[in-house]
């Protein structure tokens, strides 16, 4: 199929907007647009309204910088959670990933990026202030650094470690090692090497 000649200007515009999304090419965009056209009017209106409201109504939690419907997100507003334990992550997807483990009862802090000059992100572009304030007030006992295990993640970890080392708090990081259910021979050398070096007491691994 030849893409590039549309029978309608409106169609062309819609395709252009859809294909500006990450991972969507012109062909997929056209398929999505045509699909929407075939739907009932109400369905399309609801779709459009949701997108409009998304941008105008969504807020960033004043406490943790996660995406939220309110000034303070549900996690931060929950009194049953441990507010002295902070898990520091890059983005909202990471919060969801850790929430899905159902193993964590502290709260989060969303940085909004990793230090990467190539992507135009310097230390000043990270959202750290709310966390710094909380720590200064003595509300924080432990910060868990849970960033990606990339070089940029490590660099950001180090930056934050320096920044928070003036406070008397515990700074921890996620364990790195062999994935559960995986076979040793398929683990990559770097991870396996690290796991050997940072081996743990067997007693601690027994689930009681």
């Amino acid at each position: 199929m030849q893409i590039g000649r549309y029978s309608s200007r409106l169609l062309e515009k819609a395709v252009e907007e859809f294909s500006s999304l990450p991972g969507i090419g012109k062909k997929t965009a056209l398929r999505l647009v045509l699909h929407l056209l075939r739907q009932d009017k109400e369905v399309v209106e609801r779709f459009g309204e949701t997108i409009l409201r998304l941008k105008s109504e969504i807020q960033y939690c004043k406490s943790c910088n996660n995406i939220s419907d309110n000034e303070i997100c549900e996690i931060c507003a929950n009194p049953a959670r441990d507010h002295s334990l902070i898990c520091l992550v890059e983005n909202p997807q990471n919060v969801m990933a850790i929430e899905n483990t159902q193993q964590y009862n502290g709260i989060y802090h969303v940085l909004g990026g990793l230090i990467s000059p190539v992507d135009g992100i310097g230390p000043a572009d990270l959202v750290i202030e709310p966390l710094e304030k909380k720590t200064r007030k003595g509300e924080v006992k432990e910060i868990i650094l849970a960033l990606n295990t990339t070089m940029e993640g490590d660099t950001t970890n180090f930056y934050l470690y320096k920044k928070f080392s003036e406070f008397e708090i515990k700074i921890t990081t996620l364990a790195r090692g062999v994935s559960i259910g995986g076979e040793l021979e398929y683990a990559d050398e770097i991870t396996l090497g690290r796991s050997i070096k940072n081996r743990t007491l067997f007693v601690d691994t027994i689930q009681l």
Partner: protein, 375 residues
């Protein structure tokens, strides 16, 4: 020591071959023919089966026969007494496929090093004539074959370097110098892999150089002093010290001026620069000795004799050196050899005197075997 040799090779639409099928001697194989008939392409096909890529052209698609959609290379090796069938194909617009005994590799990197080859070609002169990057690449490829964490360190180092240089550039644009804190942040990431790479390169060259010198003297028959010296700014100063010392300079230059990314191998002959004063024959001897040393290194670390691919190496050599090279490679330290040459007479004259089994392939429109001595 495990044995390794290629038993047979078949090509479909690879470079200038529509179809070809050959079976080889365990020892010496000679491809003889005029310029442009495709002798080197046969060596490159073997290179593909070993390293999943061409030695000459990094773009896979461009190795397809002109006007066709795909190429296939098939080879049957014997490695440590086992048959290994390797298949490699490239289709226009598709991912390259490499199979071992009918099973496709998920990661091509898993195949690299399994069937080692060493290629010696006129293109290697870049090692002497071009910038230091070529010589670092030479060290890096050999070391990566046996040290997996080295490659990891190297990738990481280059990534940090990219980020650090970006900080310097960005700062220059805004007019405010990059802050000490921000540079220290990247220095901290740069130092550990940088120091490890430095130490691995040091150990590597310490082992490589004596072997290289021995080969040089064997081939040249002369006693001129030949040297290969690993140079790095880290010999003079610790890496943290170097970064600190260069900090203001880096701010002006907008890039990181010191580190293992400036390492080099100094090549000297009789105390003078090989590039400036060495004759073409001497330079070539240097390269062949260096590649032989690489061969010996891979052989010792992997406990297997790599396959040796000699592309047009006798050009610019005097008859004495040619004889010496052939004599060397027919010794037991080497395994299977593939040689290309335009003239048969000379090559065969030497081969006949030696004890080794050899096979000659005359390459023209169709490949035919013109002589196959009984082994």
């Amino acid at each position: 020591m495990d044995t390794l040799y290629l038993k047979n090779l078949s090509l479909v639409q690879f470079k200038n071959y529509t179809e070809a099928s050959l079976s080889f001697s365990k020892r010496i194989n000679c491809f003889v023919g005029d310029n442009g008939v495709g002798k080197t392409n046969l060596l490159d096909a073997i290179h593909y089966l070993s390293l999943t890529k061409s030695y000459f052209n990094p773009v896979d698609q461009q190795n397809i026969l002109h006007g066709k959609e795909m190429f296939m290379i098939r080879g049957e090796f014997e490695r440590a007494g086992r048959n290994e069938k390797i298949y490699c194909s490239v289709r226009a617009g598709k991912k390259k496929v490499v199979q071992r005994n009918g099973k496709a590799y998920d990661r091509l990197a898993d195949h690299i090093g399994f069937l080692p080859v060493v290629m010696i070609s006129p293109a290697d002169s870049a090692l002497i004539l071009e910038g230091s990057e070529e010589r670092r690449k030479f060290m890096d490829t050999v070391i990566s074959l046996y040290d997996k964490s080295y490659l990891h360190d190297l990738l990481r180092y280059n990534r940090v370097l990219l980020q650090r240089n970006k900080v310097l550039k960005n700062a220059f644009k805004t007019g405010l110098p990059a802050s000490d804190d921000e540079l220290a942040l990247w220095d901290n990431q740069l130092i550990p892999p940088g120091e490890r790479i430095f130490s691995v390169r040091q150990t590597f060259t310490e082992k490589l150089v004596p072997v290289f010198q021995e080969y040089y003297h064997k081939i040249s028959g002369e006693n001129e002093t030949v040297s290969l010296e690993y140079v790095s700014p880290l010999f003079e100063m610790s890496f943290p010290g170097l970064l600190m010392k260069n900090r203001d300079k880096d701010r002006i230059l907008q890039y990181t001026s010191g580190g293992i990314h400036k390492d080099d191998l100094l090549m000297k002959l009789g105390g003078f620069s090989l590039k400036k004063t060495g004759s073409q024959g001497q330079q070539k001897t240097f390269l062949v000795a260096l590649k032989f040393a690489k061969f010996a290194f891979i052989r010792e670390t992997n406990d297997i004799k790599p396959i040796l691919l000699l592309d047009d190496i006798f050009d610019k050599f005097d008859p004495r050196r040619v004889t010496e090279i052939i004599r060397l490679v027919s010794e037991n330290e080497f395994g299977q050899i593939f040689i290309t040459d335009t003239h048969l007479d000379h090559l065969e004259g030497i081969l006949k005197q030696l004890d080794a089994d050899y096979k000659v392939f005359k390459i023209n429109e169709e490949i035919k075997i013109i002589r196959q001595p009984v082994s």
